[in-house]
Amino acid sequence: MFFLQLRSELAKLFGKKRTYIGFGAFLLSQNVMLLAFRYSNWQNGTAKLLESNGYLATEFISALTVAVLMLIPQILLLMPLYVMLVGGDLVAKEAEDGTLRMILSRPISRFRLLFTKWLTGVIFAAILVVSLGAMALFFARCWFEWKGMFIFIPIPGGQTIFNVLSADEGLKYYALAHVLLAVNACTMLSLAFMFSCFNMKPAAATILALSFLFLSVVMEGMPFFEDWKEFALTHHFRSWIFVFAKPMPLAQIAESLCVLVGVNVTAFVIGATHFHMRDIKS
């Protein structure tokens, strides 16, 4: 029964056109960025940076390098928006449309309904991240050669991740980074899902979750909160970048993962508790 219900939730989610907006936006933005990489001054700048560090530039301006570079703006701007758009819809849209009342006239418990909805959202978030990574790699490969990977990512706070990797190693770390990105996406979804469980419009749930994220970014960037930055969610969202660091800070990544899993559980419990207590009316 549980799998039938999960299948139903997936059919509802993937039957909606708006679910695919994120995929379409990624497709478009990736190709625009690729055009910019191919025909702008970016390649010369990267070559200079590599050669000043003693590396042969032609070996590292590759599909993998470009794919990682393309990920950054998409993860910062597009991914939260599309994941939270779906997360905010999961419960609030059904409540607004009235279909939730019809479902809850059936003998399914509210907790079970919420769990299947949340799991559907998690599956969506994971598929979105995997598609994002696969599309980035595929389109980058269409324009650039398959060679070693070069990583140069400055992080707020003065730290910079710099590394050069072989193509095989780079691909392995690229895949691992996507596992962590999927956890980030799930956390963003859980936040929006939590607000969605309250009596509010779907757009309000999405906006509240996005505001929470922006607040975290702003607080993390203020010197006053320097000692508290580990309490900022966005601080832990950055763990995927550290996969490419040399040596890889495993303890820091594990800590961030634990925090994110904790946030997921907390958001679900808060949402489920409120949803259980509220009255579902037309």
Binding site: A11, T99, I108
Partner: protein
């Protein structure tokens, strides 16, 4: 099938339902009447475990809905005033999805229900292409999927054209006759309730102001149409003599218990009031309902004034 004992629901400081007792026996078509905001939908919400009661006990199919929701709703179907579905999916897919929240339903069962409600041939069309009538039929189909014993219909004829209303009435009658279902029908359409229901309950401002058979409702007061020279004077005298208990519409009087029309005529003649016509007025559900509402409003005003 449905039993409510001392059920109340408070939203903030407002009582939506207050101290409601209700019993719907198996096999009946039970009408729940009341104006907008009377508490009908809140009561139905509580019956389906969607609204938590503030106090009281609700039993559906012998199970306590707040404690054993799954067992209570296992063989219950419900339709709400505006049938809403996943418009971007087909009618068939909607039925499949909704059936999964109760129990796995074989395609043969879905096909049988689709045929029963008369949607065969259109079941694979997207719901966005359905007319209001077809949506109502689909709503009925989803309610029938779990092979219900009890059907809760909240304003099922809302938004339907006269032909649709007629069709819905026939369907409800068929459901009771052919499938032996117990039906709770909440409706504004008094004519529909009059034609369908065997028992009714009337809610006003969250309180039950009447419960009984339709015959009881019609016999609560014996109304007589009275055409006289001076109706106001005649009514005042008859009320003072306790020959009548109520007046309505400037020409109707309700006879007191045991009083016959001849006593009225004799008294009016004695008062020298010319009498042109005395005829019994058949009580309709509408007139009963309007009188009930008028009486309970007057009582409410009286209590307010006293307090």
């Amino acid at each position: 099938m449905i039993q409510l004992r001392g059920v109340s629901k408070q939203f903030g400081t407002r009582w939506a339902v207050r101290d409601l007792d209700l019993a719907v026996p198996r096999g009946e078509i039970f009408g729940l009447l009341g104006h907008n905001g009377a508490g009908k939908s809140t009561t139905i919400g509580m019956m389906l475990g969607q609204v938590w009661p503030t106090t009281g006990e609700l039993r559906i199919c012998t199970h306590d809905i707040t404690r054993h929701r799954a067992q209570a709703l296992h063989r219950v179907g419900a339709i709400f005033e505006t049938p809403v579905f996943y418009d971007y999916l087909s009618g068939w897919k909607n039925l499949q999805i909704l059936s999964h929240y109760t129990a796995p339903t074989p395609p043969e069962r879905i096909a049988k229900i689709v045929d029963w409600v008369g949607l065969t041939g259109r079941e694979h069309d997207k719901v966005s292409k359905y007319s209001h009538g077809m949506r109502t039929r689909l709503a009925l189909a989803q309610a029938l999927l779990p092979d219900p014993e009890l059907l809760i219909l909240d304003e099922p004829s809302d938004g339907l054209d006269p032909e649709g209303i007629h069709e819905m009435r026939l369907t409800i009658q068929r459901l009771q006759k052919e499938l032996g279902l117990t039906i709770l029908l909440s409706s504004h359409l008094l004519n529909e309730v009059e034609q369908l229901c065997t028992r009714i309950a009337v809610l006003n401002q969250g309180k039950k102001v009447f419960e009984g058979t339709l015959a009881d409702a019609k016999q609560t007061k014996q109304w007589v149409r009275l055409k006289v020279g001076d109706f106001a004077r005649a009514a005042a005298s008859l009320l003072a003599d306790q020959l009548i208990t109520d007046t309505r519409d400037g020409s109707l009087v309700a006879l007191a218990d045991g009083v016959k029309t001849d006593a009225l005529v004799r008294r009016l003649v004695a008062l020298d009031i010319p009498v042109f016509e005395v005829a019994p007025e058949e009580e309709t559900l509408e007139s009963f309902y309007l009188t009930l509402m008028h009486d309970s409003r007057a009582e409410g005003r009286k209590l307010k004034a006293e307090s």
